[in-house]
Subunit: 221 residues, 2 copies
């Protein structure tokens, strides 16, 4: 059964998954890289960036790495929001092809939700970006078909995550709470009162200082 | 050196330390007792409520209890907000003497911050309520003098906690994050951007499902 999953979504103590303002120079605004430092220290990240090739592989293989790794296994499609695909205004730039260079790290069909769709964009390594102006449920149906039985990742940002949670479309969510107070940005929790009714929630703190929160849908989907 | 400390302040995943609306029947509003169930299961609480007397003491003695216990040790005074002392409108009721009956659990001078002060109120067991309409720094100076070298507890609610944190008056804070999403109420984080600059933050998850967050002031106060 194909599951819909969220992985490695990093939030501050006060629940922000990005700072502000988002821009080409600072995709996470005033948060900088602070939400993701835990991930940069993992072996999964070192391999992802190619720094583990040839020489001895670097990066930790503990709790943070065990969680980080699952971002990459079992997926046949990703869905992301317009603000993850590019900085404000990318829709006005026909040459914008995403942050990730010629070989993006998705390696599957990747569906970008935007009110200003454009034709599909095929990149190296199996990633093709498709631009959709549809509801979360319709986007998931399309992505699920493209995933051909594999899982669908909701890649963020927080607005899209919230919308999919509100629509009851998420089976499994992994958040990483980082010990900083951002104060402003886009909060993942807004509009999700009583989320615990639908999910079994587990918290495990890591020696690195972050806390991993996993949400498993109670109906066992 | 007398320290200013916060203990056992329970918050939801989205940072609310109380639900809404606060009332005589529901002091925590729609949060009910959910923020404090972790505490009710501890031995410290059983003793506090007298249920451990005579018969075998009940309640867990693990991580949650180790944290809970510190709420009661080393204090010579407490400061609390008007909304912790009573439900909305208590200021209009001359007979209101707090939630806690004849022998409140403070056993020290206890300073209630309110814009409508009244004369001091002496209760059994060493608790005297003093009503102050002064700044956080002035309240702390007064409480510190009353504490005669012992520590001062900031007892909450979240508005008062935020004000004391903003004024840089807190040495040590212990929050307990409970796996519920309240969605509304009074949030502890608002206005505290970059709190991590001033505090060393440690997170430890408990088998009970809550996560204990401790904040130790970096200047070592
Ligand atoms: N903390 C993490 O781990 C993490 C993970 C991923 C991303 N991020 C960060 O999060 C930020 C982006 O998050 P965000 O919440 O601002 O935005 P987002 O969720 O990436 O995108 C939201 C936007 O997508 C479009 N959209 C969403 N649903 C749609 C629908 N059903 N139909 C058509 N368009 C739809 C709308 O844009 P338009 O109206 O403009 O089309 C909407 O404003 C970025 O800074 C990114 O780097 C963080
Ligand atoms: N989650 C927990 O562990 C925990 C712990 C403690 C309390 N609580 C709950 O938190 C709630 C209360 O929190 P809250 O944030 O609503 O309110 P609060 O912090 O208890 O009290 C705030 C009020 O105190 C008065 N006040 C504060 N500073 C003052 C000053 N410097 N001078 C004069 N008056 C001042 C003002 O009331 P006036 O203007 O009306 O005088 C202000 O509105 C209650 O539901 C309580 O049960 C939860």
């Amino acid at each position: 059964m194909s599951r819909t999953r969220i992985h490695n979504l990093s939030i501050s103590l006060d629940g922000f998954a990005t700072g502000e303002p988002q821009s080409l120079e600072a995709p996470f605004g005033h948060a900088g890289q602070r939400l993701h430092e835990w991930m940069f220290r993992t072996r999964t990240w070192a391999q992802h960036m190619g720094t583990g090739d040839g020489a001895a592989p670097s990066g930790s293989v503990g709790l943070d790495d065990a969680f980080a790794e699952r971002h990459g296994t079992g997926f046949g499609a990703e869905i992301m929001g317009a603000n993850k695909f590019g900085p404000p205004g990318w829709q006005d730039d026909p040459a914008w092809e995403g942050w990730w260079g010629p070989n993006p790290p998705f390696h599957t069909p990747t569906f970008v939700l935007t009110h200003r769709p454009r034709p599909p964009l095929e990149k190296e390594g199996g990633t093709t970006f498709h631009f959709l102006d549809v509801s979360p449920a319709e986007a998931l149906a399309t992505a699920r078909e493209a995933a051909a039985g594999a899982d669908v990742r909701i890649g963020g940002g927080p607005t899209v995550v919230r919308d999919f949670l509100s629509a009851g479309l998420v089976d499994h969510m992994h958040l990483v709470q980082v010990p900083v107070v951002l104060g402003r940005g886009v909060r993942v929790w807004d509009g999700l009162e009583a989320l615990e009714d639908a999910y079994e929630i587990e918290a495990v703190s890591s020696p690195s200082g972050v806390t991993h929160l996993t949400f498993t849908r109670r109906d066992g989907a």
